[in-house]
């Protein structure tokens, strides 16, 4: 056997270090090492020699064993020294601001919960900079910083809200919405303070010049309608609204042996078979009957909450305050009351005539509430094809309509900014949302194979087009969106001005659809007034009992929409409680009248289109291009249309439209 030798086998690391001053050479470290990488030092009293450093297991037993603290130390190879950093509190989400997200499909958009404290801190810092600004440049920089923060925050809210409506059972977005519902009022409060500082800064002249006079005007409204005083109430209001959505969005209605979302009941309500129609209403009525008390309770709390908000801000009640949060500029409740009177005077009788035509068409001796959605005795027009086919038709239509609408629709298609098909768990209805960060609108619907699919698609496309134009025109966030009478003009006018293309959706039934569209449009107006009057009275008399509210609803129904008053003994529909399932009354009170104000302008454009299609479209484009930079009255006047609550404007719309309907009715009969 050869002589045993020991040679140090170096490696790339040096795991053990000794302090000669401390080490006493006791070799205890060496004798606990399970890998036995050391040998005693030939020099007595000196630290052991690490013969096999590469075999070190970095367990630290040697250090644990050492009787002289610090005599032996362990160090990891450089590559294994894990990195640590000072703890970070999240800054504003930067993820949404990537340029490449501008082409991302909606489903791929990243959502990150905004960090409440960071957002608020950011706003406060921007405000401090604004207040300290020595010149307009500095002030504008602060304002733009504020914009960036708000945009990022808003975008997160928008994405969460859309995704929640896509699946109200998704616990993630349910939770996010709940959280955002708590965060948003606090952010709004900080924004409110920022706006306060902006209003009191000495650069209003420059602001007007650069952003237009609407900005400060809107901010004054905003200031009047928000702030710390209502933050808690707003949070509570958000919670109540979410409760309503949870009840209505998760409805599962037993109908003819299956259980379906309320949305999917809609076609049956317009079924050719009267029993089916009646049964569909009854199924819905029966289902919501069990939720009535809950809905009454939510509504009652909403009324009290909103009136409390109004009072905290110095209004008598929420109806008065509605002028501010609805951004009604240049007119007030008196004008609206006048408008309702005019509707009652001219419009309601015209609708009666239209309904009589419908009754005759249907060959019924009496038109009941549940007959309203059947427009034709043999069949209602129905769109051809599925959602993809409809998107294709829409695309053709918008390309033919104008270059602007073509570009707009392509952009939405590219990014798949649609969710159109009805699904279990999806929130009801249709809407146009938007995601500011990617500068795009989003269209949501619940297709069910009826005309409503087309109604919603074109209607929401009108909103979406306006939003798209506003993004494109670089309008400041505060002024991008117009007040709702204006917005609903964007959408309802689109329904009517696209009439020449409706055959893309309905083929030979396009005439029927157009008749239906106009009948629906015209018959809607009184309903909007009824809701408006209902809410005005309810908010002025917050202590009304639920039964009193039901009675009021029934009375107004009879005045404005007698054709909707008789539902036999169907629960809710037949007993004045139907309003409990109208989301608009819960979620956006005082909004409904705006559809009427809007449709009046749209109908004027439609009538103009009959004579001069190019001029009508030009006016529409101009109207859309204002975005929210003009008031409703300004914008309507700007394109030379009449304001519905001025003089006899109402009469001048309804009379020729009634004639149009009669003609169309004849046309359809002839076919």
């Amino acid at each position: 056997m050869k002589k045993l030798t020991a040679r140090e086998i170096p490696c790339s690391a040096e795991p053990l270090l000794f302090d000669d001053g401390l080490c006493i050479g006791c070799n205890r470290c060496m004798n606990v090492c399970q890998v036995d990488i050391m040998i005693p030092n030939p020099v007595r009293g000196k630290h052991p020699v690490v013969l096999y450093p590469g075999e070190c297991y970095y367990c630290g037993s040697c250090v644990m064993e050492c009787p002289r603290e610090g005599a032996i130390r362990l160090q990891h190879p450089v590559m294994n020294r894990a990195k640590f950093v000072p703890v970070k509190r999240p800054e504003l989400s930067q993820t949404l601001r990537n340029e490449d997200t501008m082409t991302v499909k909606f489903k791929d958009l990243a959502y990150t919960r905004p960090d409440e404290e960071a957002v608020i801190r950011g706003i406060k810092e921007a405000q401090a900079k604004l207040t300290a600004a020595a010149d307009w440049e500095a002030a504008r920089a602060a304002f733009e910083a504020f914009h960036r923060i708000m945009e990022s925050f808003r975008s997160a809210c928008q994405i969460a809200q859309i995704r929640f409506t896509q699946n109200v059972r998704d616990p993630f977005y349910e939770k996010e919405n709940e959280v955002l519902g708590m965060i948003a009022p606090r952010v709004e409060e900080a924004a409110h303070d920022f706006y306060g500082a902006l209003l009191s800064c000495p650069y209003s002249g420059q602001i007007d010049r650069e952003y237009g006079p609407m900005l400060l005007k809107k901010l004054r409204y905003k200031e009047a309608g928000g702030g710390e005083a209502v933050t808690k109430l707003l949070q509570e209001e958000n919670r109540l609204m979410a409760q309503f959505q949870a009840v209505s969005g998760t409805s599962r209605i037993a109908f003819r042996g299956q259980v379906i979302p309320a949305e999917q009941l809609y076609p049956y309500k317009g079924d050719r078979d009267r029993d089916t129609r009646r049964e569909a209403y009854r199924a819905e009525g029966d289902y919501f009957l069990q939720h009535c008390e809950q809905l009454e309770d939510i509504f009652d709390k909403l009324v009290k909450n909103r009136n409390a908000q109004a009072q905290a801000l110095g209004f008598r009640n929420y109806a008065d305050m509605s002028l501010v949060f609805m951004n009604r500029m240049g007119y007030g409740l008196e004008e609206i009351a006048y408008y309702r009177e005019q509707v009652k005077k001219y419009w309601v009788p015209a609708v009666r005539e239209i309904k009589e035509m419908q009754r005759k068409r249907l060959g019924l001796s009496e038109l009941k509430g549940y007959d309203n959605l059947l427009y034709f005795p043999d069949y209602n027009p129905a769109p051809k094809g599925d959602s993809q086919a409809m998107l294709a038709a829409c695309s053709t239509m918008f390309h033919e309509l104008s270059a602007e609408t073509g570009e707009f629709f392509d952009s939405l298609l590219e990014r798949d900014m649609f969710d159109l098909d009805s699904r279990d768990g999806k929130a009801p209805g249709g809407y146009c949302g938007s995601v500011d960060s990617v500068r795009s609108p989003f269209i949501f619907s619940n297709f069910n194979g009826t005309t409503r699919d087309v109604d919603v698609l074109i209607h929401e496309s009108g909103h979406a087009f306006a939003a798209y134009e506003a993004y494109k025109n670089g309008i400041a966030a505060e002024c991008r969106e117009a007040s709702s009478e204006t917005c609903e003009t964007h959408s309802t006018a689109m329904e009517m001005l696209t009439m020449p293309w409706h055959q893309l959706f309905f083929g030979k039934d396009a005439d029927r659809y157009d008749l239906f569209l106009m009948e629906r449009t015209l018959t809607y107006l009184p309903g909007g007034c009824a809701s408006d009057e209902f809410l005005t009275i309810v908010y002025r008399n917050p202590d009304m009992t639920s039964n009193e509210r039901h009675a009021l609803w029934k009375k107004l129904r009879e005045e404005y929409e007698p054709h909707f008053a008789d539902f036999d003994d169907i629960p809710l529909y037949g007993d004045g409680r139907e309003w409990l399932i109208d989301p608009q009354l819960f979620l956006c009170p005082f909004y409904l009248v705006d559809y009427g104000l809007a449709r009046n302008v749209s109908l004027q454009l439609f009538m103009l289109q009959q004579k001069d299609p190019e001029l009508a479209w030009e006016k529409y484009l101009r109207f859309v291009s204002f975005g929210g930079t003009k008031t409703y009255m300004e914008a309507v006047r700007e394109i030379g249309m009449e304001i519905p609550f001025e003089g006899e404007a109402i009469r001048r719309v309804i009379e020729p439209m009634l004639e149009w309907v009669k003609r169309q009715n004849e046309k359809c009969r002839a076919e």
Partner: protein
């Protein structure tokens, strides 16, 4: 500079000397399993020898400590039964589980902890450091981990354990041979049947031969390692377990004819700090020791935890509770992605996080956790878990890390802290090993197995419980047994084998062969396997055996030990290749993929395939997954003495 310095070998050259001794129960391996086996055997009146390659006081995977004692289902706070948890583990592993050992662990684990306490180990928060914490029972001062509702995993002060065990062994008169490697089992044929009659070993410093004659032998060594993963520069960091724990027990068992199962199972690497990963527990993560640390992304946005239904958890406290409608959840060393039924809270999947805009790198941010949860992770768990007290707690603190002020970076996208390639494999997460019966006995008489040598082994608590059980059974058998003589020829042959490399003046270094083996295993036994590849692998390894092994050469006993290890790695690698050849289908629970037999888990192969060696031939066996029967009934049938006799 001390580079390339030559020293005189500091120990006496005893390569020509030998020591002969005998005992009732011989325990090979002085880790957790071995120590408990020795204590059990000694308590039952046996004379006991422990042979340990390192220094028992700190040797083995748990030598420098450990922090979780899993499945102590009979502890006073537990709300689960041993049967419930053992059966859950079996089901979780789709039957490829060591039901016997799991049940022993669940049933006797708490008894071993009480033993540990009596030896001087710390199992309770006696200093009231964590008084009032959610995870602490203020009456018993026991501290729980993972599932705070069901309380069956304990947080323990594992750095105190090995010294306490050594003290107890000495008190009981156990003879410990430290720095002695076991190299071979000695067998004899008795009454026509093969039995183990002792073992051969060698002092790792002097080279002195040790020959032990024993009535019963317990294999309590490690699972194989350095099979696919080897780095000749930082050998000590190749794998998770200590570098000298490479499966010599498996190799000598194979040579003696022991029956193994599940050896076809290997998983993509999880730890190899020499290469892709970092010091275990030394990066930001939220598993095991770090469960359930708050994780944040690059922007500092917190990463949500979700329960098994994807419900996002609102509080830190919820991370330690089962989901609504769930009785308990499983977490721990061998639980990776648990089945729905047993799945506990977990951070949202990485893909989902990316979709939601979370940005790498992630960090563990303990500063956001309640004080007690932070302190227990950084200070107790990091501090008591093996390889953490000095390398992490002390070292990072010296580098300036403060858990209240710093976030520790995470590498990769999960707890493995690195992304390994598919061919970079390890025997991890309940790997294969020796097939055992209800006495933890192998197919060879007189030979028992415990801890990591058992198939589908788990963590330290498993090692302790099975070690004790095997030691007890061995002692009971020894009481009835007599010594059987071994053959001197066998000893001579072993001597020839083990000393050969020391006799060569020049030749090939052990590292070169280890590199060659691991490269061969990556090439021929990687993530994807087929008959041809596996056979090529076997042929190449045989070539190494025939041409390289005879050239191995080294300068001293330390390097001789390393050389023996590589010989064992070679043996084990061949066994793995054979096992892979035997299973002619693919299997998800076994992480086993064959391109020539892609069918996943067909019914015909839903059982243990075993293998052993007899006269150079591989003998296959097929054993049903539930061969051990009803765990509780079968256990109680065989352990009334223990149940009635004070759990000793």
């Amino acid at each position: 500079m001390e580079m390339d310095m030559e020293y005189k070998w500091p120990y006496e050259n005893e390569t020509e000397k030998e020591e002969r001794t005998s005992c009732d129960v011989l325990v090979l391996g002085g880790g957790m399993a071995g120590c408990y086996a020795a204590i059990a055997a000694a308590r039952h009146g046996a004379s006991v020898i422990v042979v340990e390659k390192g220094a028992t006081v700190r040797s083995g995977a748990a030598g420098s400590g450990f922090d979780h004692w899993e499945t102590a289902c009979t502890n006073p706070g537990s709300r689960v039964t041993p049967r419930e948890i053992a059966e859950a583990f079996i089901d979780e592993q789709s039957g490829y589980s060591n039901g016997i050992a799991q049940y022993i662990c669940c049933r006797e684990g708490w008894d071993r902890l009480l033993d540990m306490e009596s030896f001087g180990g710390k199992i309770r928060d006696t200093e009231d450091e964590f008084k009032g914490a959610d995870f602490r029972d203020d009456e018993t001062k026991l501290m729980y981990a993972y599932d705070y509702k069901n309380r069956y995993t304990l947080r323990v002060w594992g750095t105190t354990f090995k010294p306490a065990l050594v003290k107890e062994m000495k008190r009981l008169g156990v003879k410990i041979y430290d720095y002695t490697e076991a190299t071979a089992l000695l067998t004899a044929v008795k009454d026509g049947k093969k039995r183990t009659v002792g073992a051969v070993g060698m002092n790792t410093r002097t080279g002195k031969l040790l020959v032990v004659s024993a009535k019963e032998t317990v294999l309590a060594m490690s699972r194989p390692a350095r099979v696919w993963l080897f780095n000749p520069d930082l050998v000590g960091l190749c794998e998770f377990r200590p570098p000298q724990s490479i499966g010599s027990g498996h190799a000598m068992g194979w040579r003696a004819g022991v029956e193994f199962t599940m050896m076809e199972k290997s998983v993509p690497g999880e730890f190899s700090a020499a290469g892709r990963s970092f010091p275990p527990y030394g990066t930001g993560n939220n598993h095991n020791t770090w469960y359930a640390a708050t994780m944040v992304d690059a922007r500092g946005v917190e990463i949500p935890y979700v329960d098994r239904d994807g419900r996002e958890l609102k509080t830190v406290a919820e991370r330690y509770l089962p989901a609504p409608g769930q009785k308990f959840f499983l977490k721990g060393g061998v639980i990776d992605e648990a089945k729905y039924e047993y799945r506990g809270p977990e951070t949202m999947p990485f893909e989902e996080l990316v979709k939601r805009g979370y940005k790498l790198p992630f960090y563990a941010d303990l500063s956001r956790m309640p004080e007690m949860e932070r302190k227990v992770i950084w200070g107790m768990m990091i501090g008591q878990e093996g390889k953490t007290r000095v390398p992490i707690l002390q070292n990072y603190t010296e580098r300036g890390f403060d858990p209240e002020k710093h976030a520790l970076q995470s590498y990769g996208t999960g707890w493995k802290s690195a992304s390994f390639l598919d061919q970079e494999r390890q025997l991890f997460g309940a790997p294969g090993g020796i097939l055992n019966d209800w006495d933890l006995k192998t197919n060879i008489d007189g030979l028992y197995a415990a801890g990591d040598q058992l198939y589908a082994s788990d963590c330290a608590g498993f090692a302790a419980a099975t070690g004790y059980y095997a030691g007890r059974k061995a002692a009971q058998a020894a009481a009835q047994a007599v010594y059987t003589a071994f053959s001197e020829e066998d000893v001579e042959a072993e001597k020839k084998r083990i000393y050969a490399p020391l006799g060569r003046e020049r030749g090939i270094n052990w590292k070169e062969l280890n590199m060659a083996i691991s490269k061969a295993m990556q090439n021929y036994c990687g993530g994807i396997k087929n008959e041809e590849l596996l056979n090529e692998g076997l042929s190449l390894l045989q070539e190494y055996e025939d041409t390289i092994v005879p050239q191995l050469c080294c300068d001293n006993p330390h390097e001789l030990v390393r050389t023996h290890e590589v010989l064992d790695i070679l043996t084990v690698s061949k066994m793995i290749l054979h096992a892979c050849l035997l299973r002619k289908s693919s299997s998800k629970p076994l992480y086993f993929e064959r391109t020539d037999y892609p069918e996943m888990d067909p019914e015909r192969d839903a059982h243990f395939i075993t293998l052993r060696q007899e006269n150079g031939r591989v003998i296959r066996g097929d054993v049903p997954l539930n061969y051990y029967g009803d765990v509780e009934k079968e256990y109680e049938k065989r352990n009334q003495d223990y149940i009635q006799g004070g759990h000793r």
